[in-house]
């Protein structure tokens, strides 16, 4: 949490530094896995504000606090040409009630295949891969996970519809992800009888103006670990794109049951800096 506050102070103090040419908010926020997206869903958008032949870098820090768990995410990323996105994220999942913590590293890559978020009737379409590695595997192994690492592939389509609802612009996103992760990998990967499954994720975001947006997300989960059910995730969020260098996201999350502890709901907060 301290990281988040320090980050926010630095960002708001930094004013408008070097930033790319893209229109504000079109780099999206950064989700808990370090990808340009909403809070829990990776979008087809490319992080930061680098347009054609431009570079950008970004960093983010986020926290999800639900009844019995706290997930901290921290990451850095770089983007080029509004086409490539590379990210590295570390997650720390504190088991507040059970005791202990589970850490995971995520390397992400995304490539824009077609379309332009704002300018083409075809949605912007990107493909991405995430390589996830547990740094604490004793507990996941004990509850049935087969691997301490896994990969996920996804394809995402995003489009901004101008003047869609009450004169506001609407961003819709749909993502299909192939995964064998348990609780996004925090409880490991694979195991007996566990294979890659296709999961659907989506986001709807209303841009109230250039700087403020409200949205809702859904993330389907595979529920392949025998010891305890995992459930689909949902969130509601408000994002404030202060300028092209700083943004803040606040949200409400419903993560369902986790490791046998039921109805995990709580808050989400994330700050991001982009240059």
């Amino acid at each position: 949490m301290k990281n988040i506050l320090i980050g926010l102070c630095l960002l708001t103090a930094s004013g408008s530094l070097m930033a790319g040419s893209k229109v504000i908010a079109t780099g999206g926020a950064t989700n808990i896995e370090g990808n340009s997206g909403g809070g829990i869903v990776p979008w087809a958008t490319i992080n930061g504000y680098s347009s054609s032949d431009e570079w950008s870098v970004n960093t983010f820090s986020g926290r999800v606090g639900v009844d019995d768990f706290t997930l901290d995410s921290f990451g850095v990323g770089t983007s080029f040409n509004n086409q490539w996105e590379l990210s590295y994220t570390r997650q720390k999942f504190a088991l507040d009630t059970i005791g202990g913590e589970l850490r995971q590293d995520i390397l992400g890559i995304k490539y824009k295949v077609a379309g332009e978020l704002l300018y083409t009737s075809m949605p912007q379409i990107s493909v991405g891969a995430q390589f996830k590695k547990n740094r604490d595997f004793a507990l996941p192994a004990a509850v049935g996970a087969g691997d301490d690492s896994g990969y996920e592939l996804y394809v995402a389509a995003s489009k901004v519809f101008f003047d869609a609802i009450a004169g506001r612009n609407l961003l819709l996103n749909a993502t299909v992800r192939s995964t064998d992760a348990h609780q996004t990998g925090l409880l490991g990967f694979g195991g007996e009888g566990v294979g890659h499954k296709l999961m659907f994720e989506s986001s709807a975001v209303l841009l109230l103006n250039y700087n403020l947006a409200v949205g809702a997300e859904f993330k389907q989960k595979p529920n392949q670990l025998g010891f305890a059910d995992e459930q689909h995730w949902r969130d509601l969020f408000a994002a404030w794109f202060i300028n092209k260098n700083a943004s803040v996201v606040l949200g409400y999350v419903d993560l369902g049951d986790i490791a046998g502890l039921t109805e995990q709901t709580g808050f989400y907060v994330s700050v991001e800096g982009t240059w």
Partner: protein, 138 residues
């Protein structure tokens, strides 16, 4: 619950929407509004090192007149655009996505400075955004 919040948000936004009777041209500020928006765009271009070189050989007064005509006609005003097609006027200029993005930013800044309502801005952007394919990488 999500459904109700979204519904409530939609209703709240609908309530503060502008009455649809006035044309987009009126909501952009009519003749003087459109002129000021175009002047704002020109100011943005002039001070933007990344795109100003595209206008080195441009007859600026003529460009200004044509842009005003185009914005006026597009938004439903009493004008007729007398220039060539977007595709024709941009071919060979090697305009990139970054150049196009930069111009969009200047237009947004100009509309914000004129205090154009966000609904009108979005309606106008919706008309201009599809021009991307006729302008970029031609």
């Amino acid at each position: 619950m999500v459904k109700y919040i979204l519904l409530a948000a939609t209703l709240a936004l609908t309530a503060c929407q502008h009455s649809p009777e006035s044309s987009l041209y009126q909501r952009l500020g009519g003749e003087s509004g459109v002129e000021k928006i175009v002047d704002g765009v020109l100011y943005g271009i002039e001070h933007d090192q990344s795109i100003v070189h595209h206008f080195e050989d441009t007859d600026i007064p003529r460009f200004r007149r044509l842009l005003i005509e185009q914005f006026c006609e597009l938004s439903g005003g009493p004008c007729k655009y007398t220039g060539v097609s977007m595709q024709e006027s941009h071919t060979g200029f090697q305009i990139t996505q970054a150049h196009f993005d930069a111009l969009v930013n200047h237009l947004i800044t100009a509309m914000q400075q004129q205090k154009v309502a966000i609904e009108a801005q979005n309606e106008f952007l919706a008309m201009l955004a599809p021009m991307y394919k006729d302008v970029v990488y031609r």
